[in-house]
């Protein structure tokens, strides 16, 4: 395609989530719009099947919220922007991994327009936001579906920019479960320029009991079709203290994880990315261990 212009579409502006759901169900090829950054860009690039109806959430009152705390858990509404989350003291103090991750997004315009939920729903394997949310075991509450159990963020994607969401699904909020005991995390990424999309993302979240790692989440993005948890690395930490050897072993396990299958692209090379999984996981674990030791 040599030209980028927005194709024609109908814009529906519901004022309640119910009307939004009804509009999505009753029309042809539909899409939800939050900030519109990814959606409109995709439409301009002329994907195979652009929506003919766009349902914007922007006129529905009460969707821009970040509620809760570390112990009780956090809820993020559909119109809460990345910037809102970055500036939230609740997030900064209670969920520092998420704070660190959104702070790595350096385009203020993108953070001001873009929503957290919109970012997640795109399903890109290089999302800073989704990497951090998986480390926090976040879940997506969908309207009118799975009324009992929300969808774990780790299970959202099936491939690059492919999610299990139907076009009619609306994410009502993202919830992060509360944490009782001590946990220590870190978020690191690598980019070409600071505002660029990451070539590699890593988040770790360690749960400590009596100086021993009771549970661990090690999340790696941009080196496989979807963001994943390096389970062998996580296993290697459980029940151990955070000494250098243990950390090194976990980092190597993440690097050599069968799911780590990076590619060459314009941002980096497969071999560099693979090597860096080991380095970044080690550094993230060291950072978390330092915090644990200081606590």
């Amino acid at each position: 395609m040599l030209y980028r212009t927005l194709p024609e579409f109908d814009l529906v502006e519901p004022t309640t989530l119910q009307d939004a759901a009804a509009a999505l169900a009753s029309r042809g090829r539909t899409a939800i719009m939050a900030g519109g950054i990814s959606l409109l860009d995709d439409m301009k690039r002329g994907g195979a099947d652009p929506p003919d109806t766009v349902v914007t959430l922007r006129h529905i009152p009460g969707l821009r919220y970040i509620e809760g705390d570390r112990v009780g858990g956090l809820k993020i509404g559909p119109l809460a922007t990345i910037r809102d989350v970055e500036l939230s003291s609740t997030v900064r103090d209670g969920f520092p991994i998420l704070h660190q991750a959104v702070s790595k997004i350096r385009s203020v315009q993108v953070k001001t327009m873009g929503t957290i939920i919109g970012n997640v729903c795109v399903g890109t394997p290089a999302s800073d936001v989704l990497t951090a949310l998986i480390a926090l075991d976040a879940r997506l509450r969908l309207i009118g579906r799975n009324s009992g159990s929300p969808l774990p963020a780790i299970s959202l994607c099936k491939g690059p920019k492919l999610t299990h969401l139907e076009p009619t699904d609306i994410v009502e909020h993202i919830e992060i479960p509360g944490v009782q005991g001590p946990s220590y995390g870190a978020y690191i990424n690598l980019t070409r320029t600071l505002p660029d999309i990451a070539k590699l993302t890593v988040a770790v979240n360690l749960f400590m009991e009596d100086g021993v790692c009771a549970d661990a989440r090690i999340v790696v993005g941009a080196v496989a079709p979807i963001i994943f948890r390096a389970s062998a690395a996580e296993d290697s930490l459980r029940g151990r203290g955070l000494d250098h050897e243990t950390i090194d072993r976990a980092a190597v396990a993440a690097r050599d994880d069968p799911t780590t299958t990076p590619i060459d692209d314009i941002r980096s090379t497969a071999s560099y990315r693979r090597g860096m999984v080991g380095v970044l996981v080690r550094r993230a674990l060291e950072a978390a261990a330092t915090k644990a030791a200081a606590a």
Partner: protein
């Protein structure tokens, strides 16, 4: 020290600043003429093919389509988008034909339409039926010079029309190498950086009453006019090129884009046509930086450090059309001459065709590749001798009267030693250089130097004209024709005129960028604006001053040489009460009733003889992460020998902006060309990253003002100078930090880490 002046040297606001900041400035892309049509280009989907047939009958009959053009509508004239070619008979290689029967890269022009709006134009493009006979294609120099490579241009059966041509050689290099104590060098590669202007390629053409007017982003409006007359077979008198403000420059305006196509469409449609590339179209079809793909260089130094020999072979990847690739290599070689006192130089250049977009010009033309390679190899040789790279440079640079860029030119001024001294102090060279480093993050400092030019005289025609026309109130219109690419030259030219005439800066109204109004000017390239056009303005203003003095002498009944001009008043040196103001004189010359009206119109033509090299030292402090290969520039310092800063704010602005581009070239800017079809995969700013404000490290631009005897008020150039030294100084700093020598640009973390690992493995 230079004497202090009134207007020259002051930090004046640019004349265009208000218009631009308030959104009132007009650009080719924002122009709207009554009845203006949208032009779109049909581009080849194949990297190499014969165009067997083009049938546009269906497109032509689509309602809303005003004109469709292809090969059958144009005279088949061989031409080149490199408008500089047209300054000399013969010129550079011309290898393009408009809508020719052969396409040579994916995106090459096949046909075009003009329609009432963009959707109609696009629909019309899809209705054009083209039969292609697809040919094999090659995308790298190495593939293009292989035995069985497809021939891209019939006149160059080996795809290399410029093959190892000796350029700027002197002395006995073989002997000088034999006498060298150390020899360093090897093969280097550099990136095909993109100019990355905010405005993608845009132009408007209108053909009325037998006269063609083209609004173009060209930095060389008069040369654009000559090229358009050639390709369209029109008398030059019937072509007028107007340059509104351009939202893209950095060399991108040195070659034309769709101007000939817009013109052909406008001539057929009988209405104005605007062609404005979309961003991906721009990335893929606007000529990139002159692409010096590979460089082989060696230098030899005597045991005491004396520079013995420099040998180089610059090999350009021309892409599908030569445009500026060979001349880029030539300039690269020329720019190696000035900095150091080599006993012998042996240089040659080659340029090879491949099937991707051609290489045009970008700021730092040729000098980028030279500075990186030369300054890192020199650093390597100096290190082998165990010398301090600053001391070596202090001692062995050329000096006033020494060999210039082009063999007949001589150096007129040199403040390199001052630049080195100031920069070394600011960066903390003594404390930081050559200090052993350990740990994961290692710091180092590096230095590099260069000498550039202020116009490419005497090699190229650098003819400029300036006209000052006085109003009855003593203000003046200054007619000049630089390229208007946002570089601030118009303000500096007004400062020069205001200084001479002792009138306020605001009273000089600069009119530029219209070939029917202004005198001839080559335009903006080779960092020539303030120096060359400034000399013309200086001469015109001096001539105007003489005319004022003459008239004052007549009115006051005194002789010229007893009069002085100060603050807009001409008075007698003997009697302060005997005076007349410029305003009174100007009024009388236009509205006098004594039958002696004679409006002051002063004109000057210049063809400068000297090239007035600005010198520069660049200093980098870096921190290298040895586990990730990430290079953080901790501090950047440019110390620039400007001669005299006509407007220090613009000079600093030029240097700081260039620091961004230079760091991009050094560290990450890399247009990725597909090896399967030659298409540029990095076809937007989401993929092709340039430096943003958050990426820019702590940096300083320091000016050294010692004057140049040939420059207007001592000024030399700054347009390109600021972006040469980031790559070599950063590379040298990386060596200081971790002991690796990088030979390929950009120096990405991937490459840095690979080099660190190779060093550790002892490879």
């Amino acid at each position: 020290m230079l004497e202090t002046l009134n207007v020259v040297g002051a930090r004046m606001p640019l004349p265009e600043a208000y218009e631009k900041a308030t959104g009132r400035a007009t650009y080719c892309s924002t122009m709207r003429l009554p009845g203006m049509l949208v032009g779109k280009v049909l581009r080849s989907p194949h990297p190499h093919a014969r165009v067997a047939k083009v049938d546009y009958s269906k497109a032509e009959s689509l309602p809303g389509v005003a004109a469709v053009v292809s090969g059958q509508d144009v005279k088949s004239k061989v031409y080149t988008k490199n408008v500089m070619t047209y300054q000399l008979p013969g010129g550079e290689i011309q290898d393009m034909t408009l809508f020719g029967d052969r396409v040579r890269y994916k995106g090459d022009e096949v046909a075009a339409v003009a329609a009432v709006d963009e959707p109609t134009a696009r629909r019309a493009l899809s209705l054009i039926e083209v039969e292609y006979e697809v040919l094999p294609a090659v995308f790298t120099v190495d593939d293009a010079i292989a035995e069985d490579a497809p021939v891209i241009h019939d006149f160059a059966p080996d795809n290399t029309p410029v093959s190892a041509v000796p350029t700027f050689c002197y002395g006995d290099a073989a002997k000088a190498f034999e006498e060298s104590a150390v020899v360093a060098g090897g093969w280097y590669t550099t990136s095909k950086q993109i100019q990355a202007g905010m405005e993608s390629a845009a132009c408007v053409a209108d053909y009325q009453h037998g006269k063609l007017t083209v609004w173009s982003q060209s930095q060389l409006p008069h040369m654009a006019k000559r090229m358009l007359a050639h390709v369209l077979d029109l008398p030059e008198a019937d072509v007028r090129v107007i340059q509104p403000y351009a939202g893209a420059g950095f060399g991108a305006g040195c070659d034309l884009n769709a101007e000939p196509i817009a013109a052909v469409l406008a001539m057929k449609a009988g209405a104005p046509v605007q062609v404005w590339y979309s961003r991906d179209e721009d990335f893929n079809n606007r000529l990139t930086r002159e692409h010096v793909a590979k460089v082989h260089m060696r230098v030899g130094l005597a045991a005491d450090g004396t520079p013995k020999a420099l040998e180089a072979h610059y090999w350009g990847d021309a892409g599908s059309y030569m445009c500026k690739t060979a001349s880029g290599c030539g300039v690269a070689l020329a720019s190696n001459i000035t900095p150091y006192e080599w006993e012998a130089m042996d240089q040659k250049l080659s340029a090879t065709y491949t099937n991707h977009v051609g290489g045009g010009a970008m700021r730092g033309f040729g000098g980028m590749q030279s500075s990186f390679v030369r300054e890192t190899i020199v650093d390597e040789a100096i290190a082998q001798l165990g010398m301090d790279p600053i001391e070596w440079r202090m001692k062995h640079h050329r000096n006033v009267g020494g060999l210039g860029w082009f063999p007949s030119a001589r150096i007129t001024s040199c403040a390199l030693e001052e630049c080195l001294t100031i920069g070394a102090e600011r960066i903390g060279w003594k404390e930081k250089w050559n200090k052993p480093q350990s740990g994961t993050k290692r710091r180092g400092v590096g230095v590099a130097c260069m000498a550039w030019l202020s116009g490419a005289q005497p090699m190229l025609l650098e003819h400029s004209n300036a006209t000052l026309k006085f109003n009855a109130d003593g203000s003046a219109t200054l007619l000049v024709s630089p390229g208007r690419v946002g570089q601030g030259v118009e303000g500096a030219l007004a400062q020069i005129a205001a200084e001479v005439l002792t009138i306020p800066y605001e009273r000089i109204n600069v009119i530029a960028g219209d070939t029917d109004i202004t005198g001839f000017d080559i335009g903006t390239h080779a960092s020539r604006g303030v120096y060359c056009i400034g000399k013309a303005v200086l001469a015109a203003a001096t001539e105007a001053k003489e005319q004022f003095l003459q008239r004052a002498a007549e009115k006051l009944g005194l002789s010229n040489d007893t009069l002085v001009l100060e603050d807009g008043v001409i008075s007698s040196t003997a009697d302060q009460n005997c005076f007349v103001t410029l305003e009174e004189i100007a009024l009388g010359l236009i509205y006098g009733f004594e039958h002696d009206c004679n409006q002051i119109v002063a004109h000057a033509t210049v063809e400068p003889e000297d090239f007035a090299p600005p010198w520069q030292a660049g200093f980098a402090e870096v921190e290298v992460d040895i586990e990730t290969g990430v290079v953080e520039v901790v501090k950047w310092i440019t110390v620039h020998d400007i001669g005299r800063a006509i407007n220090p704010s613009t000079v600093e602005g030029q240097l700081e902006g260039a620091t961004c581009q230079g760091m991009g070239f050094a560290l990450f800017e890399d247009p990725v060309i597909s090896l399967s079809d030659g298409y540029m995969l990095t076809d937007g700013f989401d993929k092709y990253k340039i430096m943003s404000s958050v990426d820019l490290p702590d940096h300083e631009a320091i000016l050294v003002e010692m004057g140049d005897p040939s420059g207007p008020f001592g000024a030399k150039s700054v347009g390109e100078a600021g972006l040469f030294l980031q790559a070599p100084a950063i590379a040298n700093a990386i060596y200081d930090a971790v002991g690796i020598r990088l030979r390929d640009l950009p120096m990405t973390p991937e490459r840095v880490l690979a080099a660190i690992q190779a060093k550790e493995a002892g490879v």
